[in-house]
Symmetry: C2
Subunit: 438 residues, 2 copies
């Protein structure tokens, strides 16, 4: 297929009619599909049902340290669950706190505590500064941005590249501006592009020399074991890199089993330097006596070790890889070569990012919605929900069953075509020049 940029006004008008007819047909189907969030499908959740059998009324609910998991205590979690995550994340068990079912909560709590209490002994809490800022590599994860926005932190967009955030920009900003207190990162299979930070990017993170002594990297390793194929991306271990340089207090690592076991009932962890762990525990002990240890035990017994988790993730991959493939196939057959869209081909994670022609993303998402398919809001992947070029759309292919996913992807492609044609027609009238994709 040749690029739409070669079409004449009449050809575009003709094409528009065709596409409108197809769209009308889609609307008449009264679809009700949801591709908005990175949720596992119910077949993925079925994979873990065996976890509900590892404990029953005959079980001894003791941790390997002899303590009763049913009772109060063990603020930082069960030793065996710490070990499991330590192995998965390449940390020492002493660098782990096991939390509740949500890593988002752990990140929120970390920001919340930092607002009211010092991050570094003797410094002011972030909330006592006139103004503070967070770097937000974008496109990025809307819930990250929302946490800092909620606390009145100014969000500063940093461009994303296939190797991670633009580190020239990050280094320049972080080393010169002491009001910059942190950066949000999804270092492996980034949300939404599925990019994995390069070794150089990770090393440059570890080597940051921030103007603010209480600057922190929020390293949300949400997709640490979420490979789609045998050969997944490899992420360098940031803690090891930091330890080489003595900057290990600068990074907070987060992960969870939300997309390994159950999204609604997994376990989440913080990984941090021993010094940070001690400081966090001192504050956390005011908030809780301990998180759900029976669920931690369930996870430790079910997965046994990191290999157990990796074997389990292969089952997820068997379900997810065909979905990612389907979307890519649809995009290729409907959009490739037309100069109207560009998309990523991640080897893991939960999302595909699509760029459409500037000024078209919102309208594409609106048309999808009108025809019964809910997409992530256009703009959601940028700070304050505002995509400056209105072009990035996050595709979440995991939740719908294949048949529905196919319909949704087809409709999406149709909407991209339709809105692009509208745009190009408007261009012919206004003589504005639309920048097409190569």
């Amino acid at each position: 297929m040749s690029s739409y940029s070669f079409l004449s006004k009449d050809e575009l008008a003709e094409l528009q009619k065709e596409l409108q007819a197809k769209y009308a047909k889609f609307k008449s189907m009264n679809l009700k599909l949801d591709m908005s969030r990175g949720k596992p499908g119910s077949d993925q959740l079925d994979l873990c049902m065996g976890m509900l059998d590892v404990l029953d009324s005959n079980s001894i609910l003791k941790s390997q340290n002899g303590l009763d998991c049913r009772n109060y205590g063990m603020l930082d979690g069960l030793p065996e669950t710490k070990e499991l995550f330590a192995e998965l994340l390449g940390l020492r068990p002493e660098q782990i706190i096991v939390g509740g079912n949500s890593s988002l909560s752990l990140m929120y709590d970390m920001v919340a505590r930092s607002m009211t209490h010092p991050t570094v002994e003797g410094m002011k809490p972030w909330g006592k500064y006139e103004k503070i800022k967070f770097l937000c590599p974008a496109p990025g994860y809307d819930r990250h941005f929302a946490v800092t926005e909620f606390f009145g932190v100014e969000l500063v967009t940093v461009p994303m590249t296939p190797a991670g955030p633009d580190m020239d920009v990050v280094e320049e900003l972080v080393s010169s501006d002491e009001t910059i207190k942190g950066i949000w990162c999804v270092p492996k299979y980034s949300n939404p592009q599925g990019y994995t930070y390069s070794d150089e990017t990770v090393r440059r993170f570890a080597a940051l020399r921030p103007a603010a002594k209480d600057f922190r990297i929020f390293w949300d390793n949400a997709y640490c074991v979420h490979d789609l194929y045998e050969e997944g991306d490899k992420l360098l271990n940031i803690m090891e890199e930091c330890e080489k340089l003595g900057s290990e207090d600068m990074v907070y690592i987060f992960a969870s089993t939300s997309k390994i076991s159950f999204s609604g009932a997994g376990v989440a962890v913080i990984g941090a330097s021993e010094h940070n762990i001690a400081r966090i525990k001192k504050q956390m002990t005011i908030q809780t006596i301990g998180y759900d240890k029976i669920n931690m035990l369930r996870h430790a017994l079910y997965f046994k070790n990191a290999d157990g988790v990796r074997a389990h993730m292969k089952k997820h991959a068997a379900i997810l890889a065909p979905k990612f493939q389907l979307v890519d196939d649809m995009f290729t057959s409907h959009l490739e070569g037309k100069g109207i869209a560009k998309w990523t081909k991640p080897k893991g994670g939960y999302f595909i990012a699509v760029d459409v022609l500037p000024g078209c993303a919102k309208r594409v998402v609106a048309l999808c919605k009108e025809a019964g398919v809910i997409m992530t809001s256009a703009g959601a992947t940028f700070p304050y929900g505002k995509d400056p070029e209105d072009r990035n759309i996050r595709i979440a292919p995991t939740y719908p069953p294949m048949e529905e996913l196919k319909q949704a992807a087809e409709l999406f492609c149709l909407c991209v075509e339709l809105v692009s044609v509208e745009k190009l027609l408007a261009e012919k009238t206004s003589n504005e020049k639309v920048k097409m994709f190569a």
Copy 2:
């Protein structure tokens, strides 16, 4: 036994020798007992093991609203779990948010959010005031006081009476001082005395007219169904009283199953007016996508309804009532009539409070520790851990098995006697007058 106040110096010295000999014998036993915290015993936790059988790999994990409990979503919790708690607490399901495993966390989060975000639309967050204060009925719960202390809130002691906090003091302070933003309450079987607020106290709470429009009552109904005997204390429903007066936004209610199901793996709730629930959810949605719904489902299926919970609590009572009785019997036989101690006789909850002679509590707890029995730190029941008269000691009789409890209580009585005799001997020398109990 007649009061020690009638003993001569020589008689006291003689008695001291006897008691010291007994104490030496205790020390030689190398006891290692813990009466410090309100933890259920393992036999109590055994009562709920059946909850681990209600879900297994063959279960359909759908909520009654059709949603999959395994997946993300349902920020405010499962409808069936909301209903269960609504029935227990005399609220409407719309007035409930079901959280994670810890009501302390829910209280902490509520205070934390109030520090950084307005409690009442248009007002400043608490953290933006030069100084704010919280009323702390004391003796009270150390973890409550610690939460507000952590956020730099000034703790103001309010005297407790058998009918609840001294409401003359509460009304006077709350109506005149707009820096007072809240009060901590354990309205039923208070920690540590086991007092239940009278109907009049509850009504006076509902009728408060605070100087601060963002004043809130933190109503920690931790022991709402924790009766020891058939005839338990009755607590008036504060939400109903507030609704009569239009003051329903003034109260936040908290409860949990930590001492019903599993202390480490229960579910906790917030009860509040519909208006407050909407406001809390708006903030909470930044913090989490939802709490552990599989555990909520487990609780709803296992207990079925409020009657199910009440029937279960009878089994707890069968274990706990003899422990409370034992302690009371020991206190009666060793301390009654001597004028050296006074203690409460609660009909529920987790604690007994003992007052000893002024200036003696710390030394009693220290002597117990020296002989191998850990008590709650003297002073812990007061703001900043400082009992102005050094006389209140919290007894937590639930955790140790009967035989250990008997030893611990015996040692405790001995230490009270010994320290009292020391005190009275010192009095004879210094001519200070010790105020004995009637």
